[in-house]
Symmetry: C3
Subunit: 445 residues, 3 copies
Amino acid sequence: MGSCPVKSARGTKTCVSLKNTVLGASTMAPWYAPSLRSRLAPLLLFLQMGFIFIYGFCTEVESNVSVDGITFRNFYPNFQDVNVIVFLGFGFLSTFLVRYGFSGCGFNVLVSVMATQLAIILNGIESWYYRGKISINLRSLVVAEMCTVSALISIGAVLGKTNPVHLVFIALLEVSGFVLNKWFLQTLLKVQPLNSIMQLHIFGAFFGLMLTWMLYRKGSELPFEKEKSDHKSGLFSMLGTVFLWMFWPSFNSVLVGDAPSGRKLGVVCSTYLALAVSAVTAAAVSVLSSPKGKLNLNHMQSCILAGGVAIGVSMSVVHQPWEAMSIGFIAAIVSTIGYRYLKIHMLLAFQCHDTCAMLSTHGLPGLLGWLAHLVLQLKDCDDHTMGIRFAVVHICTLFITITLSLSMGIITGCLLKLNFWRPPQDKKCFDDQAFWEFPHLAVQK
Amino acid sequence: MGSCPVKSARGTKTCVSLKNTVLGASTMAPWYAPSLRSRLAPLLLFLQMGFIFIYGFCTEVESNVSVDGITFRNFYPNFQDVNVIVFLGFGFLSTFLVRYGFSGCGFNVLVSVMATQLAIILNGIESWYYRGKISINLRSLVVAEMCTVSALISIGAVLGKTNPVHLVFIALLEVSGFVLNKWFLQTLLKVQPLNSIMQLHIFGAFFGLMLTWMLYRKGSELPFEKEKSDHKSGLFSMLGTVFLWMFWPSFNSVLVGDAPSGRKLGVVCSTYLALAVSAVTAAAVSVLSSPKGKLNLNHMQSCILAGGVAIGVSMSVVHQPWEAMSIGFIAAIVSTIGYRYLKIHMLLAFQCHDTCAMLSTHGLPGLLGWLAHLVLQLKDCDDHTMGIRFAVVHICTLFITITLSLSMGIITGCLLKLNFWRPPQDKKCFDDQAFWEFPHLAVQK
Amino acid sequence: MGSCPVKSARGTKTCVSLKNTVLGASTMAPWYAPSLRSRLAPLLLFLQMGFIFIYGFCTEVESNVSVDGITFRNFYPNFQDVNVIVFLGFGFLSTFLVRYGFSGCGFNVLVSVMATQLAIILNGIESWYYRGKISINLRSLVVAEMCTVSALISIGAVLGKTNPVHLVFIALLEVSGFVLNKWFLQTLLKVQPLNSIMQLHIFGAFFGLMLTWMLYRKGSELPFEKEKSDHKSGLFSMLGTVFLWMFWPSFNSVLVGDAPSGRKLGVVCSTYLALAVSAVTAAAVSVLSSPKGKLNLNHMQSCILAGGVAIGVSMSVVHQPWEAMSIGFIAAIVSTIGYRYLKIHMLLAFQCHDTCAMLSTHGLPGLLGWLAHLVLQLKDCDDHTMGIRFAVVHICTLFITITLSLSMGIITGCLLKLNFWRPPQDKKCFDDQAFWEFPHLAVQK
């Protein structure tokens, strides 16, 4: 695909020999990406057979749903919306790299199903301990997919610089860490299950940040040769964004019970309004911060989601439309400015090469949501003692989440630095050709 | 992206200077698209903060839904279908221009959320006047998005020849006009709310037509340099079409109550059948009217929707499958022939450069649906007096709608002709580069 | 699109004459694809008017749904999921050919609506015979679309080598054959309606196989000039795959009644798990069977669906998660190995040029599901006599299905071999330009 600049002039053969000559010393390094045959295939088959084995002994499909027969039908569209978020939304969002589309979308499916299978087991350990069986139903699938989303956020930070073996390990370790964190929060701090799940944005973003810091490659200050997008890959990515943006109200509301009547409607409307405001604000800030007064497609792809993220973390205390809209407004400003200025700063000053700017897209809006939760809860509190108690618990929640995500990120990073996993060379970063066959590929004219 | 033919040979600087020399007199005109920094960003921020302010004082999320708890869950999938229509359907339908994909899709999100926020307020003015609060629920969001659709139809007619500041103004004025029209019809003529909303196709198409006539640029008789599509942008556009086509039954039926039992099923089946017939007929007419006997992708993208539009306008009187199918059949013929012959005639004879042929896609099928409504209602009427009364009201409905849409279109057009809004030059029409940054864009080889 | 190398230098006319000279003897053959004006347009119009006529006399929208009012709302999202499978899933799955995207997606819509309209009538013949009317409701639409899916599977085998007239005939004859098969199975062998519908994978695959054998073109051993994909068309196709993969649980469960409580949930979970396992296993086998240890996008597009197909055929007896996962595991292995080795073997040894490898994607997993059904049912059977009786019926089911699909395939193939239908020349296979106008197409730079 034309990685050699003199191709057209001299033909392919000359070009390769020329390269070998020019490269001199580096010809000793393998020219082609290392084969993953002996790594990826056994790993996947082994893990998959292990999962089948565990599922055979420990799981059952919930059968006593005579009462919930109607619930299944009501819940099923919501479940599919979460599926859309995971497989279409995140999958196509990561196709923006011009030569990394197959990997962005294909590995997303692969990694998601591995992580979801693991998350179902981990989430069910308690139930298995007490009842001997993990019951599978739509709700447990949805919770598992939400844990998967936290892994997908982490993966966004190292997109293009890892091979699928890495990605599977990242996903499995991240999901384990996230479930552990969820359990800590629920057991130690008595945090509501829903609130603990919604830490996924913060956990995923900081885990990914640590990971990309550990896996830093020298020379990343300049963009990689293939780290760029074109018109069409931008549109594919926009497609993923629109799916995420549209179904984010479903994602936030899916686990909300309707016990205090209308609660679910409240979450849907809040998320919808926050997303609407985010879209407008992200566009405005993007134009404002551009010297030529132009929009940036990356901002439109990532930062319009900031409102949804922030509401997700704070939704249990957002009651008024204007609160949701203000949160969306501030989240979009923070996220867009973070994307414009913080991303490059993180790279140059801290050696964190965050491919999809997950810190700005999920980390900062998540923190903002956490703050909004604190402020709004304190505002509603009449009793000072209650307020202080809540504040302490809330700060501990954040502290535990960030500590655990950073430390898990470092552990995972150490593990992945081994050359045993055959990381792609710098030249093969952001390139599908390292992982995919192109037998009948048309020569682009 | 190769707008300069000698770029590769001499480098960018030489190229620019060369251009300046070659262009001679026209060098006085600004070469780059005018910056929107001082126009778009303040406008968006000001409007958005205004909306937050208004929402803070006037709106509340509906809370007394104890009875409708089950309704929320039933309505939510329908609500998301309408979202799909607005954000995915219209968004990707307008990516067919080869260099205008980012704008087509990105501005659609931007404009839709602005228009929806305004429409929620305007639709709720009456409730605000009497109750002091505008309540937000899924139904009010859906109605607001339907008003937005009428704005999106208008925008289709001026696609590519305007900047986002124009588009925001068009959307806000169009939605205001449409809500006014809806209020006129409901108050003066006692038209059913649903029927008045469904005038959106006619209102949007004629508003857009007037707009494109006002904004006519000299030299539009020949296609603009970048007014063309390629294989991949055609497929993106087809994706939007398929979404529209598939979820059109949801769009038509979402506000239909199920009071006369089975009414909703009737609308869904009618729309489904009409769309199916439209798809076949549009293909047939497209082949028949082509000298070489080939299909035209534009026809497949627009005209297969004609049946859904026509049924939408006439659905309250369509009861038999064959009626729906016949309406779909005729609508597709009218729409395809309109696209093939009328579009160019409107351009040459009336100076209406209707980019997406909205007159043929929404205007004519809408008028046909209006006619079908009249005919079928009269057929069902036993009483002559009733029939004549209905006919008079029905004709007044159309008359008011068209008058208001034309006059609002002219007013909007006058406003937008000001150079203050910095319209893109002719050379920058249909070009993303006027509005979007391309920092890491891959050079297409 | 640059099919003529000297176009830009000399203009189109010179170019054509040059070609004519160079081609010498072959100038006698028509250079342009034959016009379909006199074939396709009358056929479509005639059939469509016929359908309207039949629908006018024989159908009615179900009106006595006072009890099922709530069912409509519950069923509608499921119905839309099946729509997504048919129009988005299969439509975009077949856009993987680099120059055949418009046809892959556009003809899919055309053919699906024709086949669905016919299937509604054919499925309702019995009801028409006894009650005088065919009632149309969401369930009958879903059953009709499932019959359509069997036609789409067949069409996948001949994709790119046929014109739309062929495709319409194939779809109509295949659907007729499939409905006949369904009737045979239900009447003669008392097979459950749902089980007989799920034979669609086997019926469609073998029908398509026979068809592509009948329509074999000499020289197909080597890939056709345009039978290849590129980065972007691969992504479009991946989009279709993800839609299919995500909504396959809806497809399998849509017609399952919830009478034994939780049955529907069981089918959804089984399909979901089988698909998850399939995705992992297909990737592993793809890497394992590749000499360079790389993934193949075609395998990721087709073989990850194998688990869903196999569960679809066997779902009435799959109760445990591990059973579903094991079936998904084996189905993916069979399907991927079939794609890698069997496809080329079928071409070279049996002259079956199966464009989308439908035998491996739907045929083999379907047979595996049939086998799993047999084994699991026998395992559950306590009574030997019952077991043997079931086995006989089950084997007869398969025998009838395959016999009928092969014979219908041969009959259809004979009919389509007539030159009257103007098949595209070898040079115009896999090429949109034979069927679509490209008026404003941008020259790709």
